[in-house]
Symmetry: C2
Subunit: 335 residues, 2 copies
């Protein structure tokens, strides 16, 4: 049966609107930051004027709405469908920055947008159908199966080694340490977010899931993992350039989340080799698009700008792109 399931359709609508909100929240917040910077100390130099800026608050609210939609998407569709669609937020923010903030999109940046859309379409068309989940206890059973227990144990051990051994020695010089911690933890965050989102959905449809201790454990896991992620993502964004962090973080976060989802929810068990191969092609295409978008984000706006590509022929229009603001850490946590 080749058609998309109603649940998957809901999941895609929520995931795409989440990307629209999160993508545009960058721009709205930046407008607020610019306005605050014009009339006082800039945020970058420790100023807090933006807190009085309506634009900045509108940006925050837009981002929160985006995160809620993303959270809800996990209640309807499998992670392999929702997580990669997070890349679309990068497109929306790049395209809006191009028109509203006049931060011209580089030729390869445009290509990156196209690739993200094409890759997302391929994944959406071939994503597995979500298995019917009637209670949070069913998810709990999936979580305590040997396969996923081993995965979780490996994650916790690796993260502990990264935090206690590698971070003090290499944290400041090798971004893989911080990004590794965030993306490994992120895969557990998404699995628990999915459990909590389903619990809320079931509760709203009349079967209260909050009377089970399992729901509260999932909430605890979400909270713990989120705090760890935000902490180390802040360190990463503070130490390294966003244009390098974002693509690597997106790739690792999405990859580990899909692996976790495959082990826990056995997404691919019901799919043919052809479908799985097609989804992987879509996934690599999105990764390439994201990589291109981020790699060309920090190029000078003018043709003579540092690192801009001046083509040898007259016919090629030269769009180049100046660095847009840092992507705020919190929005990268579970999207």
């Amino acid at each position: 049966m080749d058609q998309m399931s109603p649940d998957n359709i809901n999941g895609v609508i929520l995931a795409v609107s989440s990307s629209i909100f999160i993508g545009s929240s960058f721009i709205i917040k930046k407008k607020g930051l610019k306005k605050a910077g014009a009339s006082g100390v800039r945020a970058g130099e420790g100023g807090y004027g933006y807190l009085k800026e309506p634009w900045w608050w509108a940006g925050m609210i837009t981002m929160i709405v985006g995160e809620v939609a993303n959270f809800a998407a996990y209640a309807f569709a499998p992670a392999i469908l929702v997580t990669p669609l997070g890349a679309l937020s990068i497109i929306f923010s790049a395209v809006l920055a191009h028109f509203i903030l006049k931060e011209k999109l580089h030729m390869f940046g445009i290509l990156g947008c196209i690739l993200c859309v094409v890759g997302s379409t391929t994944i959406v068309l071939h994503a597995p159908h979500e298995q019917k989940i009637e209670s949070v206890k069913q998810i709990w059973q999936l979580a305590i199966e040997p396969g996923f227990l081993v995965y979780s144990a490996v994650i916790v051990i690796v993260v502990a080694i990264l935090i206690f051994y590698y971070e003090p020695r290499y944290g400041k010089t090798h971004m893989i340490v911080y990004v590794g911690i965030c993306s490994l933890m992120g895969s557990l965050t998404v699995m628990s977010v999915k459990a909590v989102a389903i619990a809320i959905k079931l509760t709203f449809s009349g079967t209260n899931q909050f009377k089970y201790f399992n729901t509260w454990i999932f909430i605890l896991v979400v909270a713990t993992c989120c705090i760890l992620q935000i902490n180390y993502l802040n360190k990463a964004l503070d130490t390294f350039n966003t244009a390098v962090i974002s693509p690597v973080y997106y790739v690792m976060f999405t990859t580990f989340t899909i692996i976790a989802s495959m082990i826990m929810f056995k997404d691919w068990a019901s799919q043919s080799g052809l479908k799985i191969a097609t989804e992987l092609c879509g996934f690599v295409t999105i990764l390439s698009g994201t990589f291109l978008l981020h790699k060309t984000k920090d190029m000078g706006n003018s043709a003579s700008g540092r690192g801009s590509i001046s083509m040898p022929t007259r016919d090629t229009p030269v769009f180049t792109n100046s660095g847009s603001g840092r992507s705020s850490s919190s929005d990268k946590v579970a999207s």
Copy 2:
């Protein structure tokens, strides 16, 4: 039935080996040209020393073998499967140039290779099955149906306008004129090549097709279109930079060929919307990969080379790529 048909598998094997031969023929010929250039007048300055170079002849033979394999591929699989796989020859030549000629592949060039492979995989997995063709007269019936007659008439008219009106005025300044002529004619070439290839295949399997006048008309069309294409492709390559011509030519040539095949062989009639959409995603991915490969082909080898991308961070390894030789016109004709 999701599996690939045996004919499609044969078609893919032939198309991929064709790309390997054509791709490597660039490198082998270039070795011959370099050797000839070292001991006499270079080909670029009118020297013909390369004709005495065994390497150059080995390159020519490799290319001819590649073209024959490409020709045969059309006898087994639909154009929408075979034509886009032509992009793989660009990868093979780029990768071989990277290792053998020390023409370093740019970081984005590597991304371009990945995209071409991923896009090709998606198309191969979802290409329509070839309809059973028992005789060249069957193809003739397809060719004289109203839809394809209208398409052919439009092509001939547009090409005539381009040649008699636009070429004298804008040929030297707007590459779209030459590339337009080549790609429009190319779509008719491929349809006739397919007819002739099938006629040969059927003849080999015992039912002689050369007793029908239809076969000879298809051969005549192949010859006429090929001569026109080679003529205007030479003009294009002589006037404009290969890095600009090749991607545009590949995009237009492949697009018109797929349209022609859709009209004549009704490839997509038996396919679901989901399959067609997936194939288009694969096609756009290959186009992007080819675009990236060509756009970064002419960048200086050293980091300070004109137009090279110097990333703002220490972690990003900088590979840059110097211009490889012109792609010889003949190999671009029907691949």
